[in-house]
Amino acid sequence: MKNLNRRDFFKTTAFGVALATLGAKSAKASDKMLSEDRIGVLVDTAVCVGCRHCEWACKVAHNIPTTDLDTYSDNTVFKEYRRPEQTALTVVNEFENEKNSLLPIQVKTQCMHCERPACVSACIVGALTKEEDGSIIWNDDKCIGCRYCMVACQFQIPTYDYDRSIDPHIRKCDFCHDRRKEGQLPACVNICPNEALLFGKRSEVLRVAKNRIKRKSDVYVNHIYGEQEVGGTSWIYIASKNFDKLKMPTLVKNPAPGISESIQHGIFAYFIPPVTLYALLRTIMWVSTRHKDKNSENLSDIHKDEKGEES
């Protein structure tokens, strides 16, 4: 390592430049355009009666074992607050209605299909993808089970198979990607007897939501949950009660991956920062080596002088 010279220095710089071009190529691949016609669902919690048919239909559509539909009329499950899990990609919870105690408020929970999804940004291998139509789906062939999507998701939606050692799955609502490919509605929307779930273009259901709030301002609070939360979501909610009282997190308007991605792309902007650092370190090394060699030459000169005096 001691005979470093100018040629080595340029060799290393060339190596860095090669890396930089590689980086420029890989940086562009990720951004997929969202369609103007991307889909959405309006959940009108004031219309939902808590029949839980959506829970049953979801399981059937996703080949999750389930009991008969009749058993879902059992209201005792509402005693405990439930979250989506491996065996239930959507769940309905019940909340008290202060305005009318006979009409409790039911809230369906499932993946919100964010406009700027944190899970997709976080996934180490790109196993989660945001499709052009707005849905977010999980790719079984890529996932390594690191659970970073679960860390990233602001709605705490992805669930993991903690009881399996081989082939554990990340599971969440996939907006019935397979059913829709065959021209069918999402299973939950399809079965909902009360039309509490309204499926359509996101822009369209958003317009309906605004109209309903305007028309019945005595019923609804003036907030469309999901219109702006973490940059907006495909599933949006309206309710007669503040959303923080319905156990929905109060979130900022900025997309969750925003800061993280800016940092990430800042550090790696076309590989310029790392290559600069490399070049800088190489220069320091070069200068330090020369400096040291000079010093030791000087030292040996002194030795010679001393010897000269002696002789």
Partner: protein, 398 residues
């Protein structure tokens, strides 16, 4: 000063205890691989990451920072004075990162797909960056260690039994490496420093995406900078800590000349880290959360207090000159950075739906301790076989 294999017996009472701890950890590991993560850990859908990511991976990477800080000091800045610390620090980094990779394998659900990030890229993901950098850096560390292997075994490859036929080819490989490596090693060394800078900071970026799920005491856009600075700050204390333990364990005189001058560089680095850490707290107006004095606040205070006390100790010349004081001060820095990683990955992670607080299970703790024990055991074996530790001042006691 020339490094040589340590002349000591491998087995001691302490080593026996380490073996038991390692076996205990391995037993729980077996259960994890047979029955899944749920069987051993307290992880669930609300707490997807726990002790293994917080300590084995995040703290492990930080505490292996001695590798790149010493490489920067000795090879890049050419401070030959510190030459004796390079190999032990390199060995720690090499073993440390090996165990980080192992811990990742243990923690990810589909461990058999660990290679996926190599071909499936997501440039937006901080985890992808960490993963790739750690993989490459680990390779670089093994390359950096090759000269030690060459020094020990070139012309001396002597495998027993049937493996004998490999003696000649292996020796040939070592000789070829010996011709090529010295001229190219500087590339790997600088590359190693760059890779470390990148992934040490990206480890901090990891939790940024958790957004509001992170406690405001820790959630900051400068997390990557804080992670990098604290990693640099813990590098030298970790080298000092290990060197003092090694010299005690192998009954050698501590290399105080080197360790003291290393120690005198710690205070300024800690000062920079503290300035950013505390400054960030006030700029973000997050100091109010300290005054709440809840669990999170106390953990934050503890983490900061450890670093501040260590900083004050390192300021004094008395600390730097005494092996005992130096050891205590270094331990405080290590504890502070360890606690910082635990705080960032476990305590600060406080999601909206959080029915019960995550406390690591006995199995998780066993695996973590078992891994550390195994690491120490391998370290001991390597320094007995390979010329890693410089023994100018060997003082045989018997």
């Amino acid at each position: 000063m020339i490094a040589s294999p340590v002349k000591q017996k491998y087995i001691t009472p302490g080593v026996m205890i380490l073996i038991i701890l390692a076996l205990n950890g391995l037993a729980f590991l077996a259960v994890r691989f047979i029955s899944g993560l749920g069987a051993v850990t307290n992880l669930d859908n609300t707490t997807p990451w726990g002790l293994w990511i917080g300590v084995d991976v995040a703290a492990g990477v930080a505490l292996a920072a001695g590798g790149f800080t010493s490489a920067a000091l000795v090879h890049v800045m050419q401070r030959e004075h510190y030459h004796a610390i390079v190999r032990p620090a390199l060995l720690t980094a090499m073993l440390g990162y090996t165990f980080v990779a192992f811990a990742v394998c243990v923690d990810i659900g589909r461990f058999y797909f660990i290679w996926h990030p190599l071909i499936m890229w997501n440039g937006n993901s901080a985890l992808f960056e960490v993963g790739i950098c750690v993989m490459i850096y680990l390779t670089v560390l093994y390359i950096e260690f090759l000269p030690v292997v060459i020094e020990r075994f070139m012309f001396r490859v002597n495998l027993p039994g049937l493996l004998k036929i490999l003696n000649k080819p292996l020796d040939g490989i070592l000789r070829i490496l010996n011709r090529g490596l010295p001229k190219t090693m500087f590339v790997f060394i600088i590359f190693g420093v760059v890779l470390s800078t990148l992934h040490q900071s990206s480890l901090g970026t990891l939790m940024v995406i958790a957004g509001q799920k992170m406690h405001p005491l820790w959630q900051t856009p400068i997390l990557p900078l804080l992670f990098l600075l604290s990693a640099i700050a813990v590098g030298f204390p970790m080298i000092i800590f290990e060197s003092l333990i090694a010299s005690r364990s192998f009954k050698m005189k501590p290399e105080m000349k080197i360790l003291s001058s290393l120690g005198s560089m710690v205070a300024p680095i800690l000062a920079i880290y503290l300035a950013f850490k505390v400054g960030d707290l006030f700029i973000r107006n997050a100091f109010q959360y300290v005054l709440v004095f809840d669990t999170a606040a106390w953990m934050f205070i503890a983490e900061l207090a450890l670093i501040i006390i260590a900083f004050l100790l390192f300021l004094s010349k008395k600390t730097v000159d005494s092996p005992l004081r130096l050891f205590v001060a270094s331990t405080l820095v290590i504890a502070g950075v360890l606690l910082n990683r635990i705080n960032n990955f476990i305590i600060a992670y406080n999601p909206f739906y959080n029915p019960k607080m995550y406390i690591p299970s006995f199995g998780e703790i066993s695996v973590t301790i078992g891994c550390i024990a195994l690491l120490v055991l391998i370290y001991r074996a390597v320094v007995i076989i390979f010329p890693v530790i410089s023994q100018e001042n060997v003082k045989a006691r018997n």
